[in-house]
């Protein structure tokens, strides 16, 4: 990929003190794809990294499914969750207690209004697991809001970073 003007930061947040979630709202429709990058940890590890999205408001209904391939250093595994109320990003493992996990989450063709949305994700915690996942949001609505959080209502640790980038095809 040649260096170009199509990989642009839309918004970024660094947790100052622990925060329970980060929401990107009013996402511009100027791009083709979105990439969300986080470098994070959680104040209590008993939580999985989760994502919801929506059009205007977050969809909290059971319209999400995720299939993943994961490795914990001993075993390789694959799992899936269907008709869930959010996407799993980390195969339901526990998050680290410091800012030592990262995830790269790609939302393809996010603004189209004719197809359901497919999400590719990579999650990495060298003390936990590495995960490759694919997600589906069963909605034809354009994505203009995204929430990242954990599914046990625990907070992200201070210093966790979250950045949303826009990728334009032209």
């Amino acid at each position: 990929m040649a260096a170009g003007a199509t990989y642009e930061p839309i918004a970024t947040t660094t947790a100052s003190g622990s925060v329970s979630f980060v929401t990107f709202s009013s996402i511009s429709a100027s791009y083709t794809d979105l990439i969300l990058v986080t470098n994070c940890g959680c104040v209590s590890g008993a939580a999985a990294l989760a994502v919801q999205m929506g059009t205007g408001s977050l969809d909290t209904a059971t319209n999400y499914s995720t299939t993943w391939l994961s490795g914990n250093g001993t075993n390789a595994a694959s799992g899936r969750v269907t008709s869930n109320s959010y996407l799993y990003i980390d195969a339901r493992v526990v998050l680290p207690l410091s800012v030592t996990a990262n995830a790269i989450i790609q939302f393809q063709n996010y603004k189209n209004t004719t197809t359901y949305k497919t999400i590719l994700s990579r999650y990495n915690d060298a003390a936990g697991e590495t995960v490759a996942g694919v997600g589906l949001w069963r909605s034809t609505g354009a994505i203009n809001t995204i929430k990242i959080y954990n599914d046990n209502s625990n907070n992200f640790v201070s210093g966790s970073t979250f950045t949303l980038y826009g990728i334009a095809a032209a």
């Binding site: 260096a3 990989y7 970024t12 470098n39 994961s70 694959s78 800012v99 990495n124 915690d125 590495t130």
Partner: protein, 168 residues
């Protein structure tokens, strides 16, 4: 809005080479992305990636698929591993790796790295690797990155592109 996906430096090998280093990485970005297309000059040896000249405090979890089975390994290692196509593989095939390093300037957090690697071959066993890496040395900004085969050399025509990504 500013262009935030910028090529810092490109290296294309004109002869077999023992290692390459990106030195004096600018402190003007948020994340780094290293894209590697490489091949080993002999029958074995992966690419080992190290930061700031350090060969300690690295750990990883690797998920590997070889077309027949999936497996996972872990280790405390001297650098982060990236697959390299050996010379026994089909001629002109090179491995392909993306190495993503968020918050490389942080002086308070260890560096958590994401690596995706493939070594397709259209013949003998090939591999796809997903790696979670951590460099848990005393937190310091990454100012240099070195790639070294753990055996033999990088082959001619191997390429290494380092990009900077900025969040503002």
């Amino acid at each position: 809005m500013a262009n935030t996906y910028t090529l810092i430096e490109a290296k294309t090998l004109t002869t077999s080479t023992a290692s390459i280093t990106f030195s004096s990485i600018p402190a003007t970005f948020t994340d780094l992305l290293l894209r590697i297309s490489a091949r080993n000059t002999s029958t074995g040896g992966d690419c080992v990636i190290t930061f700031n000249g350090s060969s300690s405090s690295y750990t990883n979890k690797i998920l590997t698929g070889n077309g027949a089975a999936a497996s996972s390994t872990a280790g405390s290692i001297t650098g982060l591993d990236s697959e390299l196509v050996p010379s026994s593989y089909t001629a002109s095939t090179f491995s392909n790796s993306d190495v993503y390093i968020p918050n490389y300037l942080s002086t308070s957090n260890y560096k958590a790295v994401s690596t995706d690697t493939v070594s397709e071959n259209n013949a003998a066993t090939a591999y796809a690797d997903f790696l979670a890496g951590l460099w848990a040395a005393t937190p310091a900004a990454i100012t240099s990155i070195t790639c070294t085969p753990n055996a033999n050399n990088f082959a001619q025509y191997s390429t290494f592109y380092l990009y900077g990504i900025k969040n503002s």
